[in-house]
């Protein structure tokens, strides 16, 4: 069964550094998402991406964050000037065409900011 893959599984970075989290969505999907889950908290929406542009973003997704689909298969989340509070599990998801289609999630990248 097709799946969403994320790399790396764990990223440790010094505060203030930039990180890029990578995702390969399911190949025929058109909608792409990033969510995060801080330890002990709910899964939170960050951003959605469709037709090569951001379609929705949350208040969390400020100028520190950016997303890109650099080629036909990868979808990346860049976090600049990382802060301690950016430590979380980051999940990528993708969805096919259609109103009521489920989003499928990758296994996440655990980001630890030191």
């Amino acid at each position: 069964e097709p799946e969403v893959t994320q790399t790396p599984s764990h990223q440790v970075t010094q505060m203030g550094q930039e990180v890029i989290l990578r995702c390969v969505p399911i190949s025929n999907h058109l909608y792409f998402y990033w969510y995060r889950q801080i330890l002990g908290q709910k899964v939170e929406f960050l951003v959605s991406f469709y037709n090569n542009e951001i379609s929705e973003k949350s208040e969390i997704f400020d100028d520190q964050f950016s997303v890109e689909r650099p080629d036909g298969s990868n979808f990346t989340l860049k976090i600049r000037s990382t802060k301690l509070e950016d430590s979380a599990m980051y999940f990528c998801a993708s969805k096919g065409q259609g109103i009521w289609q489920p989003q499928h999630f990758g296994d996440g990248t655990r980001l630890s900011i030191l």
């Binding site: 998402y33 709910k42 959605s48 379609s55 929705e56 999940f91 489920p102 999630f105 996440g108």
Partner: protein, 116 residues
């Protein structure tokens, strides 16, 4: 953000019995509801969904019920198996248009433990 709420943080059930997981929502714009299962160190795995035009959807041992007037949905697992032990999240989205992202709003999760 309490738009989607799962009031039971944990549930323990005997193998073979029914597991009922509940979820409440407040946003009347939500029109699509999903249940995800999550094991440690893995991402949420899609289990079953229901659109607002239905009140029940069934897939094997899993049935989701939607009560729009009460803004309540539930997931029934019958019979429960030890392999069902995981954290279950309900999530909801609202459709605006095809260009919108249809972001998911998650509940806090319920940890289900099925005892052999």
């Amino acid at each position: 953000d309490q738009q989607v709420k799962q009031n039971s943080p944990s549930l323990s059930v005997q193998e073979g019995r029914i597991s009922i997981l509940n979820c409440d929502y407040t946003n009347s714009m939500f029109d699509y509801f999903l249940w995800y299962k999550k094991y440690p160190a893995e991402g949420p795995t899609f289990l079953i969904s229901i659109s607002s035009i239905k009140d029940k959807n069934e897939d094997g041992r899993f049935t989701v019920f939607l009560n729009k007037s009460a803004k309540h949905l539930s997931l029934h697992i019958v019979p429960s198996q030890p392999g069902d032990s995981a954290v279950y999240f309900c999530a909801a989205s609202a459709f605006f248009d095809y260009n919108a992202g249809n972001m998911l709003t998650f509940g806090g999760g319920t940890r289900l433990m099925v005892k052999p």
